[in-house]
């Protein structure tokens, strides 16, 4: 059974349509990265799932249980941190955890959560004295209470130092191995690329792409670079072979469509060129995303 199913979700703010038929799902024990530019609708989707805002059409199911305004049982096993952490500032970190524990998390488990999120060293201080990073960690700790099967984390790495970001990444991977699913949004795409199993790209309130991490970073977003003894001739040979080529600093680049390497090598050999170096771009989530968004924005403009 899928942990989360979002079907044809639509949301309007006044006259402005914020979400258009957003559909995706989350499998058990996987990490799904929700990515897109600011204002794309990521937080709106997350807020709709946890019931912070009403949506206009569509449906949301958590562990097969339909979520409605009055039936919120599905949220019992959902931990979330939306936008920024907001603990009770007059309470200590530990008191915040006690407060949000619905009784199902034992004292030992609370201590384990505090250790996992590394708040144990300051959990007896009032939350109003916390830095942003400390509040962020407390927010994540709160979301881990009550045995969640799904974690919804909106920009959880904001305000965290490199070490804490690294630790959070490890924690999320550990949780995922334990069977907990994670829906996460982050602008730190390098970090996301290290943990996400799937991506859903949102732009202008629409799902632009939904794919597993490997496919997303694959061929069509990568370039193959050829250094030869005659750059101009190599460029012409590749264009004649049907490639969209470009010259970049005495190197000819083509897009890798999966089969491009062999075809391009054949074309260059046939042209009698001496191939001095061949290299492939490293898969880059940021570049893949930017390419995708650029294409999507072009499509939007031509509509």
């Amino acid at each position: 059974m899928k942990v989360l199913e979002v079907n044809n979700l639509n949301k309007k703010f006044g006259q402005k349509q914020a979400l258009f038929d957003v559909t995706f799902d989350v499998e058990p024990g996987t990490i799904l990265g929700l990515i897109g530019p600011n204002g794309a609708g990521k937080s709106t989707i997350m807020k709709s799932i946890v019931g912070l805002i009403d949506y206009n059409n569509g449906s949301i199911k958590i562990n097969g249980e339909s979520l409605t305004k009055n039936n919120r049982k599905g949220l019992k096993n959902v931990g979330s941190m939306i936008e920024s952490p907001a603990p009770y500032l007059s309470l200590t970190g530990y008191q915040n955890l006690k407060l949000f524990n619905d009784g199902s998390t034992t004292e030992g488990e609370i201590k384990e959560i505090m250790k996992d999120t590394q708040i144990d060293s300051f959990c007896n201080r009032k939350a109003k004295k916390y830095s942003l990073g400390m509040k962020q960690r407390l927010g994540i700790a709160i979301s881990l209470l009550n045995h969640p099967k799904l974690l919804i984390l909106d920009e959880p790495m904001n305000g965290l130092d490199p070490q804490s970001t690294h630790d959070l990444r490890d924690l999320l991977l550990k949780l995922s191995k334990r069977g907990i699913s994670v829906l996460i949004s982050s602008h730190l795409l390098d970090e996301l690329a290290r943990i996400a199993d799937y991506y859903v790209v949102i732009n202008h309130g629409r799902v632009v792409k939904e794919s597993d991490a490997k496919s997303f970073l694959s061929s069509d977003n990568q370039n193959i670079k050829f250094a030869t003894n005659d750059t101009e001739k190599a460029y012409n040979a590749l264009v004649q072979a049907g490639f969209e080529a470009k010259i970049n600093d005495k190197v000819v680049e083509i897009k890798d469509d999966g089969d491009a390497m062999n075809k391009a090598l054949a074309a260059l050999n046939n042209a009698g060129l001496e191939i001095q170096d061949v290299s492939k771009d490293k898969a880059d989530l940021e570049e893949s995303l930017l390419n995708l968004l650029t294409e999507d924005n072009k499509k939007e403009e031509t509509k």
Partner: protein, 248 residues
Amino acid sequence: MLTLLRQEIYKQIHGKFYIGWPIVMLLASLTAGYFLTSGKGNVDHEAFAFNIFNDNIDLVMIAMIVFASTIMIGDFANNTVKYLFSRQFSRLQIFISKLIVTVFMYIYLIAMSYIFTFITKMIFNRSGDMGMKYINQNTFGIAWLLLLLLPMVMLVSNIVKNNGVAIALGIVFFFASSMISGFSILLMRKWEILKFSPFNFLNVYNQFLDHGTKAMTHLSLTTMEIGTVVYALIFTAIAYVIYNHRNV
């Protein structure tokens, strides 16, 4: 629901309000007790406890207005509402839990008023009766007024989304209720129908203590009580509808 109640109570216990306000009430009682007995004139023994209790009741009223407004929208102001609304509980359950805790707080503060009145009497004026009959009557009278006033405060809090404004309006309603009802009575001479306006029902406390107030309100005490309940339900229902539809 029990989880929500436990959490609301947990927040109150770890807050300063439930301990800070009674300290203010105790100090006010002791100060009033001192001044009432330090004069050279005779002390009216029965009125002593009643006066002390009355001072406490005024503070309970202010406390309840602040409390009702804060419990209703404090979570919005602090953004903690995100944790509250993103769980398995419906907003109706959350709303009801807040109403119940408000009632608990009223009972707690009234109990404190009795205790402080007793302590003050023991310290400053041991002779004479406590005048429990009048004190109890006052307790019920104020409960009727709060039944109308607190839903008004909760409604205003939810509309203006600002507990400062709601508290200010609530306190104005409380202290200006006699002035407002005076206006209301003037207008009622011209438009009799205005006797059913909620402002006229703010006199329920006065009429509960002094049945002669009927001449002003043009309504019997029973009608005043029924009207108070009806308006309380209407205001609470509207406050809930607004609460239920608020986006975070």
